[in-house]
C-alpha cells in the first residue's frame, strides 16, 4: 500500500504532494513544506548533514600516478543523499534524478516492487509534467493528466 508521494524540486521546494491512503494524521500545508525542506537537506548530495554521516570513501591508491593524465572526477567519491528510511510503520524511498529532482515515496514496510513503482512514477512525470507546455519547471505541479495517471497506477497496486 502506498501512503504518500512527495516531489521536491532542485532548490528544495515541495512541488507535489499526494496522499493515497485515508486515515493518516492530517498535516497542514505548512507542515508539508517544512517536512519537504528537511528531506531535501537529507537527500541532497554534498549537504552538511549527510556528508558527515557518510563514512569516508577509500582514497584511490594510484591517484598520484594518474594525476597528470586525468583530473579527479568529483563523482567517484561523492556521497549520495539518503535513499531508504525504514521503520516499523512505514518505509520511505528516495529517488533522485540526474537534475536534482527528488521523488519521495512512503509505503508500508513490506511493499514489494518499490523500484519499478518509482520508475513508473518517474515515467509519468517525464510524460505528463515535462511535456506539458503550461508547466514552468520547478513550480508546483498542477497537471491533471499526471494526477490521473497516478490514480490509475497506484490504485491498481493496492
Amino acid at each position: 500500500v502506498v501512503f504518500v508521494l512527495f516531489i521536491i524540486s532542485k532548490a528544495g521546494g515541495l512541488i507535489y504532494n499526494r496522499e493515497f491512503h485515508t486515515g493518516l494524521s492530517k498535516l497542514t500545508s505548512n507542515d508539508y513544506l517544512m517536512l519537504a525542506g528537511s528531506f531535501h537537506g537529507q537527500a541532497c548530495t554534498m549537504h552538511a548533514i549527510t556528508k558527515q554521516l557518510c563514512p569516508n570513501p577509500p582514497t584511490p591508491a594510484n591517484a598520484a600516478a594518474n594525476a597528470p593524465n586525468l583530473a579527479p572526477t568529483p563523482f567517484n567519491s561523492r556521497a549520495t543523499g539518503i535513499e531508504v528510511l525504514e521503520s516499523s510503520h512505514f518505509r520511505m524511498q528516495c529517488f533522485q534524478t540526474l537534475t536534482g529532482t527528488k521523488f519521495l515515496l512512503f509505503t508500508e514496510p513490506q511493499q514489494p516492487n518499490i523500484d519499478s513503482m518509482i520508475k513508473k512514477i518517474y515515467e509519468l512525470y517525464a510524460d505528463f509534467v515535462m511535456k506539458n507546455p503550461f508547466y514552468t519547471v520547478e513550480m508546483p505541479i498542477r497537471c491533471e493528466k499526471f494526477d490521473r495517471g497516478l490514480d490509475g497506477f497506484v490504485k491498481v497496486n493496492r
Binding site: 510524460d127 505528463f128 511535456k131 506539458n132 507546455p133 503550461f134 508547466y135 498542477r142 491533471e144 493528466k145
Partner: protein, 237 residues
C-alpha cells in the same frame, strides 16, 4: 545526381544564399531523395511533444487571448496542409482502375480523404467520426477521440477553453484550401466533458467521460463552394 552535377559547374553555392538548403558532403540535397522513402519512417513521439511545447510557447508570446493563440497555432499548421495534400495524393496507391491519383472534386471525397488518408499518415489511425452539422448545411464535423497532439497536455484552469489541436485544424484548413475548397475557418473544440455532463444530469452519480479529450474539428466551407457542390450534384447525379 546528374542535375546537381550540371549545376555544380557554377561553383559551390554561397552559404545562406540558397535559403537554408543543406548541401551535405555528398552533394545530394533533399530534392534528390526519393519521395516514397520516408513512407514508413517512424518518429519519436517524445521528440514531437517537446517540439510542440516550444511551438505553443512561441505562439503564446505577446498574444492577446485564447482565440489569438488558437489562430497562431492554426497559422503554424496551414503550410503543412498544403504540402501534405500534394504528397499524399502523389503517394496514393495506383491501381489499374485509376492510373493517376484522383484529386477530390466533391466535398464528401475530400472529407473522406482527410479523415482516412491524412489521419492515417499523421496519426496511424483514421479519424473517429465524420458528420454533417444539422444546423448549418455548410458545416461539417470531424471527431477525434484522443488527438495525439494533446496527449501530454494538461490545461490549467484559466485556459480550459483552449484546444491545442488548433494546430491540426490548421493542417485541415491547408488541405481544404489547397484542394480548391475555400473555408471560412477550421476550428477545434473539446467536447469530451460536455457529453459526460449531459449524460450525468440524467443519472444520479457523476458520469466519468469515456474520452475526456474528445475533440471536434468544425469545417465551415464558403458559400461559393456550397453553390458549386450543388451544381455538380445536380448535373452529375
Amino acid at each position: 545526381m546528374s542535375a546537381s552535377g550540371a549545376g555544380a559547374g557554377a561553383g559551390p553555392p554561397p552559404s545562406g544564399g540558397t535559403g537554408g538548403l543543406r548541401y551535405p558532403s555528398n552533394k545530394k540535397t533533399i530534392y534528390d531523395r526519393n519521395l516514397n522513402r520516408s513512407k514508413n519512417a517512424e518518429l519519436s513521439r517524445a521528440a514531437f511533444a517537446y517540439l510542440f511545447v516550444e511551438m505553443i510557447s512561441y505562439a503564446q508570446r505577446r498574444v492577446r487571448g485564447i482565440a489569438d493563440l488558437e489562430k497562431r497555432l492554426n497559422t503554424q499548421g496551414y503550410p503543412l496542409g498544403l504540402r501534405l495534400l500534394d504528397l499524399l495524393l502523389h503517394r496514393s496507391p495506383t491501381s489499374t482502375s485509376s492510373p493517376s491519383p484522383q484529386r477530390p472534386t466533391r466535398i464528401l471525397p475530400l472529407l473522406q480523404f482527410i479523415a482516412q488518408t491524412l489521419w492515417r499518415h499523421l496519426f496511424s489511425r483514421p479519424a473517429d467520426a465524420l458528420e454533417r452539422s444539422e444546423a448549418d448545411a455548410g458545416q461539417y464535423m470531424l471527431f477525434d477521440n484522443e488527438p495525439l497532439v494533446n496527449q501530454y497536455i494538461s490545461l490549467p484552469r484559466e485556459m480550459s477553453q483552449l484546444n491545442c489541436a488548433a494546430f491540426v485544424a490548421g493542417i485541415i484548413e491547408g488541405v481544404c484550401d489547397g484542394a480548391g475548397f475555400a473555408t471560412e475557418g477550421v476550428s477545434a473544440h473539446s467536447v469530451g466533458l460536455e457529453e459526460a455532463g449531459a449524460a450525468g444530469t440524467e443519472g444520479e452519480k457523476k458520469v466519468k467521460p469515456m474520452w475526456p479529450d474528445r475533440t471536434v474539428f468544425l469545417i465551415k466551407f464558403k458559400p461559393e463552394v456550397l453553390e458549386r457542390e450543388e451544381i455538380l450534384g445536380r448535373s452529375g447525379g
